[in-house]
Amino acid sequence: MDEKLPENVDVVVLGTGLPEAILASACARAGLSVLHLDRNEYYGGDWSSFTMSMVHEVNENKITPLTTEQIAEISKIHVKENEKLIELGNREVVENIEMTWIPRDSDEKSMKEKLEEMGQMRRFSIDLVPKILVSKGNMVQTLCDSQVSHYAEFKLINRQLCPTETKDSKIQLNPVPCSKGEIFQSSVLSILEKRALMKFITFCTQWSTKPSEEGRQLLGEMADRPFSEFLAQMGVGETLQSFIINTIGILQPRPTAMSGMLASCEFMDSVGHFGPSPFLFPLYGCGELSQCFCRLAAVFGSLYCLGRPVQAMVKEDDRITAIIANNERINCRHVIMSPRFVPEDVEIQKNEKIERVVFATDKSIKVVEKEQLTLVNLASLRPEAAVSRLVEVGFEACTAPKGHFLVHATGSSCGGDEKSVESIAERIFEENEVVPYWKMSFTANSMKFDTKRLGANIVVAPPVDSNIHYSNVIEELEDVNLRDFSVDLQESDVDLRDSIVDLLDAGVDLRNRSVDLQDPGVNLRDLVVDLRDPGVDLRGSDLDLRDSDVDLRERDPGVDLRDPGVDLRNFCVDLREPGVDLRDPSVDLRNPGVDLRNAGVDLRDPSVDLRNPGVDLRNAGVDLRNCRQIFCSTWPDLDFLPRAMKSEEEEESEEKSEEKEENAEETAENQ
């Protein structure tokens, strides 16, 4: 437990929330060395799920600001002359937390005691950020591409309820039909409405095949008008309008014709992908997802350490050079942090406040024979607010003991207590004779910062948001500008999108690439050594180069040679103008810092050569032979070169042809 943290890593990730976990896994998968730290003893940070017995931990703030003495001491030990210490923040992403057990007349013994006695407290999984996955959405895609899908199981959200207020001002919860079959069986819609709905669905299906610009043109002037107006124009009656808007409104609150159509198409496209419902819920709660990405990162070498006081950053010029955690200095080249860690003096650009209430109940808000995972869009009851919804998940989602449910209310704030999501949820409970026995309420802050001045190599992960889906999180992660990272990854246009989307197969390439480039000094410096004293090296170069062969293979077996771009490419760069470089070696080689250490510059530039490594490699022999002409007559036997460069396939095919011959001989003998 007291083991020391590594002194140097490529990336330090602060916070184990979902966005940080995805970034950590992408970096680890790309071959960067990653240290992932969290101040909490648990995974998931502000995206975590808690058992009933652990949920109090969300309220425990273990971080106190550093005292002047502490700052002085850390500075004395860890901060060099030209560096500056920056204390990390502890932003209140989750605040105003209140938790209560509600006594009920019907309980002889308090529910808390009952659950504790039966050992059921740990069966709860209380999400801070309950979300759903859209079957054809980018989160599902990311999970599949990264193979994190191996670690998680899902269930369909099998019931979407649409609330309408009846004449005696009661809230009626109507099931939304998703599939064709459900639409025809639905008792909520009249035959005419069903027909109109099918017509609308057909229109959507056709519309979705059009490119987005054409789609917009098709909507004409209506494109930016409210979706309801557009539906009216389509001949959709008012009841059905509110029905459609309610259903897709969960994806796109307050839709315009354009965004409404996009959401409708996304909704319909996702129906039937994994089942009749377009939405999925992760078993054991949403906090599971960040853990799964952390596991992937760990499998690829990321080091995990929870419950460490992460105190400060060390900055030199505009770059962070190290992180101070537990009074240890960890040098790093990049920092990824959750909004929680943003230093207190950085201004908040935007903050969306999300009201959250979680109820524990022992009866569903709408009881049916088989337990359901339920989604309720409350927008029609709270038209002023952008977000209002309920998610009810219980034993079937592995988030509560058998017969129990968690009801998550999420809403953006809009004035007036009687209109809060909490009060609407309580109204629904009352009307349906549900009596919650536990309640937790808090405010989640979705904070955005201007982090440009914070440091050139800092990425602040996207904050928790009020959307029900993960699409925006993934989109923001795709847009995360890892230009710094990408320099290392050789191509400035390799952004995270590639590494997320292509984690499956690109991982290998990226990993290899970064291994070489991560530490470009080594390879290039080795070359310098060889060339600096060319007489000696070349005379004995047989040995030297073979040795370097061995070294490189050990460093990353097969990579350099099989994906020889890097080393040999570098060779090419140097040797392409061998006359200049080598005849006047003092310029390039004795000052290798300039050319070689800024390998980024060299490599970025000769894009032609690098992107067509085949050409270079085939010419590599030629280049080297040219060297030989230029240099001396003592150039050794170059036999090793073609051998090293012979592709595996060739060797295999040779083996195969040998096998064939043998087989032929055998058959001949048999005959």
């Binding site: 437990m1 995974y43 599949c144 191996h150 054991y284 596991r295 499998v299 995990y304």
Partner: protein, 225 residues
């Protein structure tokens, strides 16, 4: 050869134990029959599969490695989810790794399913001259934690807890296959006798080709033939 398509039962086994006790070596020996004296922590190993023949049926074991997360004791809870069997490992030459077992047992009881089957193995038993944990000590621990017979119907013979202790050597190939075979045999027999606890139904994993339908963590082990 391991054949991916054919199996009658599938069980998820997870390994836990302190860093350096040789979990990966044990798995490696079991899977491929050789011993690699590895240095450093495990990177890039997610899980390995091997199919055993038990009572004439093919039992496929999916064996999960910690991914190095044991170093700072930061194993994710999700690692334990839906595990059918747990192999707790300690190093017979390392007192500390034995001392840590209680914490691993606590973690397992906190995060794994209550009916999970546990096997205790001591590793590196080829290093007899460096032994610091006597066999009897480990057996006592196993007995203290093991063999809880469920008396209640309908599965009177259900065993939970730590059912056996074995000393193994991945280097000299002692008891490694045996350990997994015993675990597989027990899991299969338990499964044949019926499932103790019904979990959620209708769960599935995501796959690029659509759903991989799993009706329950336990039904995954159902017979395909």
């Amino acid at each position: 050869m391991d054949n991916d398509d054919g199996f009658d039962y599938l069980f998820k086994i997870v390994l836990v134990g302190d860093m350096g006790v040789g979990k990966t070596c044990v798995v490696q020996r079991f899977r491929s029959g050789n011993f690699v004296d590895r240095q450093g922590t495990t990177i890039g190993v997610d899980f390995t599969m091997k199919t055993l023949n038990v009572d004439g049926k093919r039992v496929k074991l999916q064996i999960w490695d910690t991914g190095g997360q044991e170093r700072f004791r930061t194993i994710t809870q999700s690692y334990y989810r839906s595990a059918n069997g747990i192999v707790l490992c300690y190093d017979i030459t390392c007192k500390q790794s034995f001392g840590s077992l209680q914490r691993w047992i606590d973690d397992v009881s906190k995060f794994a399913a209550p009916n999970v089957v546990k096997l205790l193995i001591g590793t590196k038993c080829d290093l007899e001259d460096q032994r610091s944990i006597e066999t009897e000590e480990a057996e006592m621990l196993q007995r203290a934690n093991g063999r809880i017979f469920f008396k209640r119907k309908p599965n009177p013979n259900w065993i939970s807890g730590m059912f056996a202790m074995l000393e193994t050597s991945a280097k000299n190939d002692i008891n490694v296959d045996n350990a997994f075979l015993e675990l597989a045999t027990l899991l299969k027999r338990q499964y044949d006798q019926g499932v103790l606890e019904q979990g959620a139904t209708g769960t599935f994993q995501l796959g690029s080709g659509g759903t991989t339908s799993i009706n329950s963590p336990w039904q995954r082990c159902c017979q395909y033939t």
